[in-house]
Symmetry: C2
Subunit: 233 residues, 2 copies
DNA sequence: GTAAATTTGTGCTGTAAAACATTGTTTTCA
DNA sequence: TGAAAACAATGTTTTACAGCACAAATTTAC
């Protein structure tokens, strides 16, 4: 089984989206030094406060990036899908990790040494620019999240999260069921509310016929209205 | 008077902190093409939604960077002091501005053409890397702000803001008065609360002898306790 | 295959903070 | 210099949401 998982893993040159701007030498170097790590559901991949060692590329699975605030209350700040990079911000800033990363489901991660990463950044301008671009998107998203979470009311925040999940992870073959199954608690930590309120508000959305639920499967049935709810509360 | 202001303005090579990583050619090019803009108190420098045209460097004064949320309620996401760059994120991301920038007080800004900026980013690796570094700090700050604003209670948020203002802008000769005079409204927009609550909470801090007030002059007299309040509410 | 643990669902209560209203105070500018 | 506007202060009311307790359902573990 494990073998099968490994053999079915997409090779790093297909997963790491900045492969195309690297030189043959750089590619070789990474090919010869990268490692793969497999994580089980709920396993911690990176810990807040630890010294970062690797640029990581999610090969398969889904992970959450979160900060632990006062009273151990986590706030999810990013959710990644295969092909996305993480762990590199702290390397560039030369700081301890500012976030914890945990696997939502069984996930595989390509690990590229931080020193090699920095060295490529410092020698390959196109590579550096691509990361700059990526960060400039992430920064806008982060600022937008700040405003969403502080200014929207509970219904607006949850609606926003559901739409984000749909956009980010897509839907099943039925065209409506969001392709990620989160616990109510994770949904709450994404939307800055208590678990009870996530449950309650989901129920109210079902009642309003904006979504349908089957356990953790959430189906968006009136996206229009959900979008309105996200905007106006 | 205006002449005096102009003549007392620090030259761009002293203000723009990435000058040292530029080539002589690049420096020349910027020297020959940059412009200076002066803004009066409360004047808008950059507008949310507009197409970005220039990398801007604050030469003198103080400015706020904010997003306008639902119900026209602004959330300040950054406050700049001389030497800091702004307006460049949207250029890199090739998006409309995601924030509005307004002068707190009379400010002067060096304007560097977006095309020239992009061209240097694409040819000068050290220059590109410095911006990458800057963004990696900003991104961590933005995520931290999200957690602060969503999880801390009103006293904690205001205390946090006061400490930030002191760290960012420093203090007057008395060693205690914060060197920026904000309206209660701006303080509220920085701390995600209503103006009345900013006023009330400030008064309560005075009562608790953590700060002293004289109009807009805020003096931190018990930083220890203010820090504790910021952490624990 | 049953116990234990985790997750989900619901109701109730208290409260932090928004919203609103009013008045006093300072700035701005014809 | 006097009216208007902006800002600061404070009291009152309303409400959105957290916190808690508990029950039911589902998952995990042995």
């Amino acid at each position: 089984m494990t073998k099968r998982l490994n053999s079915s893993l997409k090779p790093i040159e297909d997963v790491f989206s900045f492969w195309d701007v690297m030189t043959p030498d750089e590619r070789n170097f990474i090919q010869n030094t990268y490692t793969v790590q497999h994580y089980r559901k709920n396993e911690v991949i990176q810990m807040e406060g630890d010294i970062p060692t690797h640029l990581m590329v999610l090969a398969s699975g889904k992970v959450k990036v979160y900060k632990t605030g006062f009273g151990n209350h986590p706030q999810i700040v990013r959710m990644l899908k295969p092909g996305e990079n993480f762990g590199y911000r702290a390397i560039i800033a030369n700081e301890p990790n500012s976030t914890t990363v945990t696997a939502f489901e069984a996930s595989s991660v390509y690990m590229i040494s931080g020193e090699i990463f920095l060295s490529i950044l410092r020698h390959n301008n196109a590579f550096c620019y691509r990361f700059l671009e990526e960060m400039s998107f992430d920064l806008a998203e982060s600022d937008a999240r700040t405003v969403n979470l502080t200014q929207k009311h509970i219904r607006g925040r949850l609606a926003e999260s559901l739409l984000f999940l749909k956009e980010n992870y897509g839907v099943e073959e039925d065209g409506a069921t969001i392709s990620i199954y989160l616990s109510r608690e994770d949904l709450a930590n994404l939307s800055n509310m208590t678990t009870s309120n996530a449950i309650r508000t989901l129920a109210s959305f079902v009642n309003d016929e904006m979504i349908a639920m089957d356990g953790r499967k959430l189906k968006i049935i009136d996206e229009e209205r959900l979008r309105k709810t996200s905007k106006l509360g």
